[in-house]
């Protein structure tokens, strides 16, 4: 069958079972949009800004483990999309971005809406392609989906010159991909796994430290199984919330800069750390030298060899796909590899640390942000998809919403991108129709992609926006209060819009909540009476609330500042 390049693009999306594409049309993608118009298998979600298209596709993937697909035009379409690309790639999210490009003859001539897409995207993608011949189009798209979803997942950008989408050729979608230069390891080295299991069983003060890789590889169940058999405490990073049930006794919460007292002390004092799909990043272990003060053995399981021994040297590195390695470990344990470990003393110590209740706060006359998240947790019975932006509200949400299931917590961990919350809620809603989706945000972040309220109206997305409004760029203010002698340089947001009216202007429901006693009734109304509507809930919170515990930059995990210290 001889069809145009544009039709080939759409056929490839159909072959990949892509149901939703988030995008924004423009000159160089018009052929593709025309081909899109003539079919209805692939649905297009028109956003209001290209950045939101990529964020929505990103969350679509995070909340469902399907690949996210976005499409933008050349030049400014691409540059607007870059923040979304870097955000998704930093968190290893499988995503394919299709970009229009000026015709092949015009490339390099500074043509209208031309930019060097492969050059600009190169440092923030897993891989990128420029298609120069329509005959390569189908195989390139096949490779793009293959690369995005295998190994350590990531973003693949495909640059499509306009003339390529007009030219015609025979369409054959390859059944498989063979690339001599790309063969990610799957199975872990069995000898290493045996050594690891032996070490786990000898441990006196072990901890299971899990990262985003557990969620991305859909290994939460296996991980939970392993944790229960070993009776180890489990600490889950910001990217792994839900990778192990937060309400489980064995969960000690999040480690790191705003982690729990018990998680940080357990990490620091452990004699064996089993790290799974995590990368010991600066926000998790703080000062590396300080971390090294305590001798311990580290077993590090990751699909990406470069994540192992990057910041912290691993004693037993295991390169492999997390579920495959967990399977092997479980099998060894089943085969009665050795007796189960005696951890009573260690657990007593952990319970003593836990009793310190490092996450306490005082709900006084003004609404505390933690209180709103706790009520949100109760009203949604812990079963909502929660997206967040970046800042204090993100930390409060991660500390106080107890995620028992994976893929329920959607946030930008690696790049830390403000503005993702609303488009993330959109992508999550499309991937999970009928699900409860709430976006916990702040008045700073929400304004970075506020225009998407219009997209939400067009598609009648019943998102609940929990705006923790303190009139401050809260996290910036917290650092300025603590480390810059309260010189609040540019962290106070004046001239805020009336969010209730703004929501109403877009055709949504707006609520302003100023008293603690109104928090729960308002949430209940939003999730019942306005179940099918987008509700913008503007919570006027105590502007002095800070996130604790806190490990300041450059400090070690045991050098936490607790709320009670101040």
């Amino acid at each position: 069958m001889i069809i145009s390049g544009a039709e080939i693009v759409i056929r490839c999306l159909q072959e990949e079972k892509v149901e939703h594409v988030f995008g924004y049309p423009g000159g160089t993608v018009l052929h593709i949009y025309d081909a899109l118009f003539k079919q209805d298998e692939v649905k297009h979600i028109l956003v209001r800004h290209e950045q939101a298209a990529v964020h929505a596709a990103d969350a679509y993937s995070r909340s469902s483990n399907r690949v996210g697909v976005a499409m933008v035009t050349s030049g400014p379409g691409v540059t607007n999309a870059i923040t979304g690309v870097a955000t998704a790639n930093a968190d290893s999210v499988p995503l394919v971005l299709l970009c229009g490009q000026v015709g092949t003859a015009a490339i390099g001539s500074d043509a209208f809406q031309e930019c060097d897409t492969v050059g600009i995207t190169r440092p923030c993608v897993k891989h990128n392609f420029l298609v120069k011949d329509v005959k390569d189009l189908a195989s390139t798209l096949k490779k793009a989906f293959h690369i995005a979803t295998t190994g350590r997942p990531g973003v693949v950008v495909v640059d499509l010159p306009k003339d390529i989408t007009a030219e015609k050729c025979e369409f054959v979608y390859p059944a498989a991909v063979a690339m001599r230069s790309y063969n990610p390891v799957v199975k872990g080295h069995l000898g290493q796994i045996k050594k690891a299991v032996q070490l786990l069983l000898e441990a006196k003060r072990p901890i299971l430290y899990i990262g985003g890789g557990v969620v991305l590889s859909d290994s939460a169940e296996k991980l939970t199984d392993l944790a229960r058999r070993l009776n180890f405490p489990v600490t889950h990073t910001l990217m792994a919330l839900g990778g192990f049930p937060a309400t489980d006794r064995q969960s000690v919460g999040m480690p790191g800069m705003h982690g729990t007292y018990e998680a940080n002390l357990a990490m620091h004092n452990a004699d064996v750390i089993l790290a799974v799909g995590a990368r010991f990043d600066d926000r998790v272990i703080g000062n590396v030298e300080h971390f090294y003060n305590e001798p311990r053995k580290i077993i590090h399981v990751d699909i990406d060899p470069s994540s192992i021994s990057k910041r912290v040297k691993a004693d037993i590195p295991i390169v492999g796909n997390v579920p495959d390695v967990l399977d092997e470990m479980l099998k060894l344990l089943e085969d009665g590899f050795a007796t189960s470990p005696q951890l009573a003393d260690w657990w007593r110590q952990i319970e003593a640390w836990r009793a310190k209740k490092g996450l306490q706060y005082h709900q006084g006359e003004r609404i505390m942000p933690q209180f709103v998240v706790e009520k949100l947790y109760e009203v949604t019975r812990g079963d909502a998809f929660i997206t967040s932006d970046v800042g204090q509200h993100q930390m409060f949400a991660s500390q106080f919403y107890k995620f028992d299931k994976p893929r329920r917590w959607i946030n930008s961990g690696g790049l830390g991108t403000m503005g993702v919350g609303l488009p993330y809620a959109m992508g999550t809603s499309f991937a999970n129709p009928g699900a409860t989706v709430a976006c916990v945000t702040g008045e700073g972040s929400i304004q970075m992609c506020i225009q998407e309220l219009s997209t939400c109206k067009q598609f009648e997305l019943p998102i609940k926006i929990i705006n923790l409004n303190n009139g401050m760029l809260g996290m910036v203010r917290q650092w300025q209060e603590m480390f810059y002698s309260k010189r609040y340089s540019q962290s106070y947001v004046t001239s805020l819009p009336d969010f209730v009216k703004l929501a109403e202007a877009y055709g949504h429901v707006g609520m302003k909540i100023e008293k603690p006693e109104d928090v729960e009734p308002a949430l209940k109304r939003a999730f019942t009476e306005y179940k099918d509507r987008l509700v913008f809930m503007d919570f006027i919170i105590d502007p002095t609330a800070n996130v604790f515990p806190m490990v300041a930059t450059g400090k070690g995990l045991t050098e936490m500042i607790l709320a009670e210290d101040l």
Binding site: R122, L130, S181, Y182, K310, K313
Partner: protein, 163 residues
């Protein structure tokens, strides 16, 4: 420590920029970089001379392997290898310097490729250190221009980098 990394990569547009971009993005040193297609035109072979601690070199190797266009990576300096670099150097050759230049070139086993009334172009092949010594041995005022290819390297005996 100085290391010589050999890379086989797909001979495709953009492959070079992926490698070069990796080095600049992660702050790794590049002392020299040389690349050309192999006997199999679909593959290029690149030699990069870099330096860093063992940990940095481990990361460089891992990060290179992660690039989708990269087929194989070897640190040649881990075992026996030969390395060569080519230099073309244009020198002033007038009066008594003419004979001196010829003599120096002979000592370093150079070849004079181009001769004019006032200049020679000398070709010199060897390790980078040998090329450096040749430059140091000349009166700097007589050096008009130099161009060096950067190091190419290959493992000794049956150590083979091939797909």
């Amino acid at each position: 420590m100085r290391h010589i990394i050999s890379i086989l990569l797909e001979n495709e547009a953009g492959a070079l920029s992926h490698v070069a971009g990796l080095f600049s993005a992660r702050g790794y040193n590049i002392e020299s970089l040389t690349v050309a297609p192999t006997e199999d035109a679909s593959l290029s072979r690149m030699t990069i001379v870099t330096s860093g601690s063992d940990e940095v070199l481990e990361q460089i190797t891992k990060q290179l392997n992660k690039l989708v266009d990269v087929v194989k990576v070897v640190d040649l300096s881990e075992s026996a290898h030969v390395e060569r670099e080519l230099m073309l150097i244009k020198v002033r050759a007038i009066g008594k310097d003419r004979e001196e230049m010829k003599r120096m070139s002979d000592i370093f086993r150079g070849r004079i490729l181009d001769v004019t009334e006032s200049t020679f172009v000398i070709e010199l092949t060897g390790t980078s250190a040998k090329l450096d010594s040749f430059i140091n041995a000349l009166d700097t005022g007589l050096i008009l221009e130099t161009v060096r290819t950067g190091v190419s390297g290959i493992g000794r005996s049956d150590r083979i980098l091939k797909v």
